[in-house]
Symmetry: C2
Subunit: 400 residues, 2 copies
Amino acid sequence: MIKTRLRESQRGIQLTQSPIRSLIPYARRAKENGKHVYHLNIGQPDIPTPPEAIERIRRIENNIIKYGPSEGLPSLREKVAYYYNRFSVHLHPDDIFVTTGASEAILFTLFSCCDEHDEIIIPEPFYANYIGFAHTSSVNIVPISTSLESKFALPEPDAFEALITPRTKAIFLCNPGNPTGQLYSREQLRELLGVVEKHNLFLIVDEVYREFCYDDEFTSVLTFTGASDHVVVIDSISKVFSSCGARVGFLITRNRDIQRTVNKYAQLRLCPPHLGQVMAEACYDFATDYIEKAKEEYRLRREVLYNGLQAIPGIKSYRPAAAFYNMISLPFSDSTEFCKWLLADFSHNEETIMLAPGDGFYYHVNMGQSQARIAYVINEEKLTRSLELLQIAVEMYKDI
Amino acid sequence: MIKTRLRESQRGIQLTQSPIRSLIPYARRAKENGKHVYHLNIGQPDIPTPPEAIERIRRIENNIIKYGPSEGLPSLREKVAYYYNRFSVHLHPDDIFVTTGASEAILFTLFSCCDEHDEIIIPEPFYANYIGFAHTSSVNIVPISTSLESKFALPEPDAFEALITPRTKAIFLCNPGNPTGQLYSREQLRELLGVVEKHNLFLIVDEVYREFCYDDEFTSVLTFTGASDHVVVIDSISKVFSSCGARVGFLITRNRDIQRTVNKYAQLRLCPPHLGQVMAEACYDFATDYIEKAKEEYRLRREVLYNGLQAIPGIKSYRPAAAFYNMISLPFSDSTEFCKWLLADFSHNEETIMLAPGDGFYYHVNMGQSQARIAYVINEEKLTRSLELLQIAVEMYKDI
């Protein structure tokens, strides 16, 4: 008898990997070969975590690290509710669930709002892991394309309406946007809320980059209290407070049915990480000054990046309004090959750069293939040098 | 036009809540009424977390709490691999994935090993949250019943084989057992491995209570290297190191296909909590002495509990071999009503006890209805008083 090999699940095979991850072996080899790699590819901020938050951890007094409440520490939920006053959003702590990063908040949202084979409409390009979260929760993504030429502006409401089917359950936005750095206006959000109210859908908005808006004011979708039952917001301390490893996010909704359901998923995994929550509390205690400084730093880098990119012949870009990402168009048909070449073959004074290939942020195949995402989470000096390297590399690659 | 109410998902509605949680409002009211409640209902150990682990957190030196590797900190994975030598299990750090608690390890296992509508066979009674994890991953549970009369002994291999269908993908055990405190022997595990090899299934074993075996030696299923491709083990620091709130668990497998798949699910949620991992490392540095002391404390309590229960007329029990749980049979047909009565109506010197109703640990309906689970995670004095209260309450309830 020939034994069949015991295999992993089909869904496990089908789960796609982050496009950012696929270049990692190339980066490792570049480093092994002595090259310095400037990481423009990942959204890991280089700005220090609020020192008060680290200090709070150092002063921890528990003698048992116990299970906490499934919905998160009451003291943290209160502080987050208070924090939202910054955006003229008035929340009750019960509206706020602490999750294990925004990742878990997204999963809880999809499981709580959508059944298997339900559809969610998402403007593309979008954060690539949405594909994995939708796959895990058996939800189908219906992408609505936006373009670099229009700075990835939100499509008109009727373009969303045209995609609505009986299986549509939600419109899902990332505002401000990763990977685009776009910012949606109050009026645009109001119009989309009209669409979700008309068709009885949820409007799910990932607002984890909300604090970094450089030109216009940010509008949280939670501002529109009239449409509360339709709204779910994803939030996190990861980017705002440079605390990605703490794994503390939030799911915020005033919809009682969704609250009750999220609570069940939350109870199932017992509780969010206690130590991260302790840190998070301190972050919100010292939010205002810290955030202002971080934002000014990113604003400065945005200018460095924008000016640097404008000076490189062949690259098309725009001034991103928010977050710390920028999609750019390269003068090549296959940016993935270019990104690999940057790591494998290119170097200048033993340095190179790592970008995130653009097509991984699109759900449609054959889109964004000449694009790449740049994250400006390295300091001005490194960013300037990275732009030099990009210019030299683009010039050189053209001739290959 | 009458607007349809925007509702949560059907799967969210269907997700069952933990049976332990349903009594919480009763407990809250009892406390509001000034009653002291001895919690025999939850598996939150009262033993202090290793002080060295708390101390390690107090000495944290990071200035940014960054994303770590998706599969966990390399230093922690090495320590866990070393720790397993205690059980004559030899692991490579690559076999070990750090997860956000055992909860996430179970979800990753089900998603990686099983497709939707695949079946897993689990001896019941079992940890009630398995139902929620299976529901979330759309896996069907096929329970195989065990009985209090036989101290919840593992059914014979042919009883498992009789339940295998073309959709069966795994046998899932909790060893040592929650809620039963049973311990499966090396020979029993060997026989079950024969079954999974014959039918090309996975053997998934939740071993989070492995350190607390009071009579016989524990055998990890990882010992059987010949069947490595079939084995996935769930582990956690929560119970062993009294660190439930740290949210650090482990998924261990030598099956490369499963490793690759788990890695994808791990990447999707970016990384496990950094601070919990730092704590966990210190736990494993000081494992041996700490665990020995904790085990002696639980062993003592087991005797107190066993002797106390034997002395209560009408209660049937047995001496649990491991973990810190005991299922008991009450002389009433509906233990849930009794548990509610304990909180709502009973008191003795303004004290009462809280138990976990037994039927919630059974997948079959109408089973375990006269049973309840006791967790011995309170100290000897409190346990003794709790047993007094139980005796008085049983006597009183009989006459109602």
